[in-house]
């Protein structure tokens, strides 16, 4: 009831302001910048002053404001992600695997310097269960294979021992079709994930910039479109607003 009265009052005030303006001789806009605009926020809270010339001038000035150039930085440059998804044993295996398959070279960071294990802990922690299972089962198998073949945990294996465990499971593959056998899928897909997370990292981009190389992997980002239907769904807009038959809400 209170809200209805407020809205009603607002409508009356706006109409009154409009009428008063209508009795004056309407100035002809000289340019788009001179076109009267209305500050919706001010009109909602103080409708009488929102249409005043001073308010209009202020709004025109704000409308012509240009954003200053303030360089921004990726958080990875100054902060780290706390790992919380993988168990300590699995995380140690993931760190060792990442270091082995993407060690870094020629001034470019490897997976560890690019924060890949921490990033994957975050990514896999929020992934669908199938992907989580693929990682968890695979990391356990990697550990078991290392114990069986080398008598040491994978995280403590040397390069030669790691190679004994990794190499037999590598396959060449194309497009969206990694090997389908679960453990082969793990080795080859996670190799791919580690590699991509490294090449796409802020640390790698910074190294490229320092080396005077081209910015790695530029792409056209598509922004949510007008304004993005997800927003409306998330806000529950559809509920009850469009009954599909007459009196469906009754």
């Amino acid at each position: 009831m209170k809200r209805r009265e407020f809205v009603k009052g607002l409508a009356v005030a706006s109409a009154a302001a409009g009428t008063a303006l209508g009795q004056q001789k309407a100035p002809q806009p000289k340019s788009p910048a001179d076109t009267p605009v209305v500050d919706q926020g001010a009109q909602a809270t103080a409708p009488n002053t929102a249409s005043a010339p001073a308010a209009n001038e202020r709004l025109q000035r704000v409308a012509q404001f240009h954003t200053p150039n303030i360089p921004v930085t990726q958080p990875d440059v100054v902060a780290t992600t706390e790992t919380r998804y993988f168990t300590p044993a699995r995380y140690a295996t993931l760190v060792a695997f990442s270091k082995a398959v993407m060690p870094g070279s020629q001034g470019y960071p490897g997976a560890i310097d690019a924060g890949v294990p921490e990033f994957l802990d975050f990514l896999i922690g929020s992934s669908p269960s199938e992907r989580q299972a693929m990682y968890n089962t695979g990391l356990d198998r990697l550990q078991a294979d290392s114990m069986k073949a080398c008598k040491v945990p994978f995280a403590q294996a040397d390069a030669k021992q790691m190679d004994m465990v990794i190499r037999p499971n590598l396959r060449a593959w194309i497009n969206d079709h990694p090997p389908t056998e679960p453990y082969l899928l793990f080795v080859n897909q996670v190799h791919r994930d580690v590699r991509e997370a490294t090449l796409n990292s802020p640390a790698y981009a910074k190294a490229a910039e320092s080396a005077g190389a081209r910015t790695p992997r530029l792409g056209r980002v598509v922004w949510p479109l007008d304004p993005g239907i997800e927003t409306w769904v998330a806000n529950g807009a559809p509920k009850g607003s469009a009954p599909l038959s007459k009196h469906a809400h009754a």
């Binding site: 060449a172 056209r220 980002v221």
Partner: protein, 523 residues
């Protein structure tokens, strides 16, 4: 405001909705075009950014678009989120429904490969006994193809192959690289033709309805375009049996609106068109609406390397360029194991090679990639799938979308026909590559799930017999005479070809027929 009856209501603004708008308005007929999505502002909606600045380093939010393999973190917002407009399929029968909702539909994003169908497709049943013939042939559609090719500026070479009809081309006279010449020679020995690809040049790097078709309609002053309008029902006058308009919902506010029209054209894309006709409970006197869903298999192929181009020696003379192997199976002879045929996209690249092609890691992988850079060579299948009656869609009233509309259950699966076809393609192109002196690095016999090609077709097929088809040869509904369907749902068979040229040619032909019928007062 008084309710105004529009002359022609067009539902959908992709390639065929755009073509209908262009043809009809140029003939003086006023059209109102509704699209379920927003108007795109190309400059505002897209920004160039490095992947390192994206929240998920290019991986995108986990689980966001599980059925859109084409999506990346860059493009994720352009595809429809299946949580907003859900669909489902039975366990073990994955279907990748790849959708866009914005003015222009999927037309800004297509691969631009531009082919005519041949009479091997138009008269497919006569050739091998499966399915139904089209009620038209190449000769009928050829004049329309020519006009469409001129609009899209299709680049191609003249090959004089009956299964790969020539068209009205911007002639491709580019020389073949040495690697491609060897691949062609290997094909010749095996009876496999290798031709230049055919592709729409368009204008400004785009060949979409929003730049090639709709602006012409706008220029006539007779087109009204309304974005964010989700048609939830086509309405029918019970006294005449004719469509008389539609009910649509504003995408943002969910306000329901009613529009009255003399003629309705449905151009929402195969499965959305089918869903709308099913929800409206019209156009299914034949009983085949929603059935015979078909498309093409993609994903199988090989990766290879041209040895002469390794170690920094790659030049455009040595390697590079694209090619196309048009269908060559089951033309004059019968190939065991599968009906119909496939085409192959062939590509030689002077750029970096894909790390996945090597069973290596660490510094050894880096070394391989340096060595092989510039020598990459790939083949990829485009294979016709069979539109069995059992491959169909059903309305699911238990699950509704964000606007309260029933969703689709898609029940389709591939068979041994597609499996055997993919195997034949991989083995044949691997043999050709080896005969050309290339090193085959990886073979993939697996193909992507149905729907992946974004070439879904067949669920409102055309046939002159009202018992066998939803529309007649003019894309006109047998049941509702003032309703036309212009998208690929009308295709009786898929062929191996990208369907866009055929969709546009059919939409052009149907629109001219409709204009004539309206002039005569018949429709």
């Amino acid at each position: 405001m008084a309710l105004k009856k529009v002359d022609v209501l067009i539902i959908g603004s992709g390639h065929t909705g755009g073509m209908a708008a262009k043809i009809l308005t140029e003939k003086g007929i006023a059209c109102t075009m509704l699209d379920a999505g927003p108007m795109i502002n190309w400059e505002r909606d897209r920004t160039l950014k490095p992947v390192s600045t994206l929240p998920y380093r290019g991986f995108d939010a986990p689980g966001r678009l599980p059925h859109v393999f084409q999506s990346s973190e860059f493009s994720a917002n352009q595809w429809i989120d299946e949580k907003v407009i859900p669909y489902n399929y039975p366990a073990g029968q994955q279907y990748n429904w790849v959708r866009v909702r914005s003015v222009g539909g999927r037309s800004p994003y297509w691969g631009r490969q531009s082919f005519r169908l041949s009479d091997y497709e138009f008269k497919c049943k006569d050739h091998d006994g499966f399915g139904e013939n089209w009620p038209i042939d190449l000769k009928t559609l050829a004049p329309y193809y020519s006009r469409v090719e001129a609009i899209f500026r299709v680049e191609g070479a003249y090959d004089k192959l009956p299964q790969y009809p020539d068209g009205n081309f911007v002639e491709d006279k580019s020389p073949w690289s040495q690697a491609m010449q060897r691949f062609i020679a290997a094909g010749t020995k095996m009876g496999v033709p290798v031709t230049k690809p055919r592709s729409s040049l368009g204008t400004g790097g785009m060949a979409a309805s929003i730049n090639l078709l709709i602006p012409d309609a706008v220029a006539t002053g007779k087109l009204t375009t309304i974005p964010n309008s989700i048609v939830r029902q086509i309405t029918v006058d019970k006294s005449t049996g004719k469509a008389d308009g539609a009910i649509f919902i504003d995408r943002h506010s969910h306000r329901e609106m009613t529009i009255k029209a003399r003629v309705v054209i449905v151009a929402a894309g195969t499965l959305e068109t089918t869903r709308l006709l099913m929800i409206s409970d019209i156009c299914n006197g034949s009983g085949v609406l929603g059935h015979h869903l078909t498309d093409q298999i993609y994903g199988a192929g090989i990766a290879a390397s041209v040895p002469e181009a390794r170690n920094g020696k790659a030049t455009r003379t040595i390697t590079g360029g694209g090619a196309l192997i048009p269908r060559f199976r089951n033309l004059d002879t019968k190939t065991p194991g599968f009906l119909r045929g496939y085409a192959v996209n062939v590509s030689a690249s002077n750029g970096p090679v894909d790390a996945r092609w090597f069973a290596e890691y660490g510094p050894a992988l880096d070394k391989k990639m340096d060595e092989y850079s510039g020598s990459g060579f790939t083949t990829n299948i485009m294979g016709e799938t069979l539109g069995h009656y059992e491959n169909h869609v059903e309305l699911n009233k238990q699950v509704v979308d964000a606007w309260g509309m029933p969703t689709l259950t898609i029940k389709t699966k591939y068979t041994d026909n597609e499996v055997n076809m993919a195997k034949d393609m991989v083995d044949t192109t691997a043999a050709m590559a080896e005969a050309a002196g290339f090193e085959v690095l990886a073979k993939n016999y697996q193909f992507n799930p149905p729907g992946y090609s974004i070439h879904e077709q067949g669920t409102a097929r055309m046939n002159d017999d009202p018992k066998k088809g939803v529309v007649n040869q003019w894309n006109q509904s047998h049941d509702v005479k003032n309703l036309f369907v212009t998208d690929a749902s009308v295709f009786p068979c898929a062929g191996w070809q990208n369907p866009t040229m055929t969709m546009c040619a059919l939409a052009m032909r149907a629109s001219e027929y409709l204009a004539d019928q309206m002039k005569k007062g018949v429709v």
